[in-house]
Amino acid sequence: MKVWVWRLGIAVAALGLWEAVAAPLNPLFYVRPTALPGALVAMWQVPELPPLAEHVWLTLREIGAAYLLAVAAGLWLGFLLGLRRTVGRVYEPLLAALYAVPSVVWYPSLMLFFGLGPASKIAFGVLLGFFPIVVSVLAGIRQVPETLVTVARSMGAGPWTVFHKVMLPAMASTMVGGLRAGLALSVVGVLVGEILGSRAGVGYVINYAYGLMMTREYAVLAVLVAAGVLALDLAGALAEARVKRWAG
């Protein structure tokens, strides 16, 4: 309760500070927070663009697709490498090395492979979101206490029962952290993809507004994206806390 009051206070203070700093400066470069609501209304229908809602909807769909694919690929590869010791020993160092490369360097080739449309954005979102998920699955598998598997085996549990009644719950808190980080990175991937080269989506509008020095509109979009990501991450945090409470 008290924490929430403090957080709200900090947010208000930050907005106040922003207003105070931006007020005397050139409004073309420094947008004041009080100017944002008006800009949002104006932004909703920029005559030379499709309605903003369409861009938002497209970006959300791209994020959804990217995240689903990242989860599927991440879980699949994570379990493949984690459960098959030899395969894991061969590929894990390669994976770690790939993880260390700044993923943006792959984006140009993704655009070449998948074109300027949503596919390349989704691919980039998958690429970014997929790594933390794989890593968390691998870490999770390593954390499963040997004794718990032995207990289940002694009671007659086969490999599948051990997997879903012991391993999955024992890994849950580690895995859910990776799934949350993966979501955040999928969002980053899609937005960065849109900003770097596209014809639609929130990232495209941001780039468009920036290119035409529509600073107010750009600021509105940035705040909008921040709010959206914050809401998403809050949902993720709640889910994570729930799973952790359950899994101990």
Binding site: T150, A152, S154, M155, G156, T161, A172, A247, G248
Partner: protein, 267 residues
């Protein structure tokens, strides 16, 4: 084992010259070497020896969790290959409770694997937890229980399987001395009620004497049977009785020798 005429009831556990060797990075290690032992029905046998003498490996082999690479194991006259949850239940040192399951759901785990309906398995679990002084703690998670309580839940989980054989691997090893003695007294009561055949691994002389019908002293690695001692004293045992003191001295002499060997001749 004499073959030919089948006797009326084969012994619940027969170990026939079993051995186990592990491959480690520093070469092969013979953990257990030709251990033979016959455990009689409703008997309480303790395996006593220095740490690393292969006691737990022997227990794991009886439980079907470790495959022996020499000799054979017969449970009720049937060769054992893999876990037999209908005959054998195990209790482990740190309890091995599932942290995401409540006390009650931990106890029902084995019954769940057998596909027993939920209502029935909860009833059984409650019936086990109640006389253990754990009613009111059914919906607590392991982290909310004391060490002694956790161990009782782990034992209840093993008892829920209702097997004739119970294998216990230093079940009270992580508890303090007082709790340990009390748990021992409690286990004597359980054993009398449930009439199980028990193999109990421990490195505590006191515990072995307080609980066992027979004590098997094992050698330092490779684990072999050094000596087998009968403890023909009535339960509950007075641990200050002169026979107990004498037995403890005899046991200590043997265990001391092996512990010294395990430490390379020097403590």
């Amino acid at each position: 084992m004499p073959d030919g005429v089948a006797t009326a009831a084969p012994a619940p556990i027969v170990l026939d010259a079993i051995g186990k060797r592990y491959e480690t990075t520093s070469g092969p290690v013979q953990a257990v070497d030709s251990v033979s032992l016959t455990v009689r029905r409703e008997e309480f046998v303790s395996l006593l020896g220095p740490s690393g003498c292969g006691k737990s490996t022997v227990l794991g082999m009886i439980g079907g969790l470790v495959t022996p690479d020499a000799g054979r194991i017969l449970l009720d006259g049937v060769r054992c290959a893999g876990p037999s949850p209908d005959k054998v239940a195990l209790v482990f040192q740190d309890g091995g409770l599932f942290p995401w399951r409540t006390a009650l759901d931990n106890v029902t785990f084995g019954l769940e694997l057998r596909g027993m309906p939920a209502a029935r398995r909860r009833e059984i679990a409650r019936g086990l937890l109640e006389p253990m002084g754990l009613s009111g703690f059914e919906s607590k998670y392991p982290r909310e229980l004391s060490g002694g309580m956790r161990q009782r839940v782990a034992i209840a989980r093993a008892l829920a399987l209702d097997t004739p054989i119970l294998l216990m691997d230093e079940p009270f090893g992580a508890l303090d001395e007082q709790t340990r003695l009390l748990m021992g007294e409690w286990l004597v009561g359980i054993r009398r009620r449930t009439r199980k055949t028990v193999v109990f691994v421990t490195h505590s002389l006191q515990e072995a004497i307080a609980l066992s019908d027979r004590i098997v002293v094992m050698t330092a690695r490779p684990g072999r049977v050094k000596d087998v001692m009968d403890v023909a004293l009535p339960f509950p045992r007075d641990l200050n009785a002169p026979e107990v003191t004498e037995l403890r001295a005899k046991l200590w002499e043997q265990v001391r020798e092996e512990s010294l060997k395990a430490m390379g001749g020097r403590p």
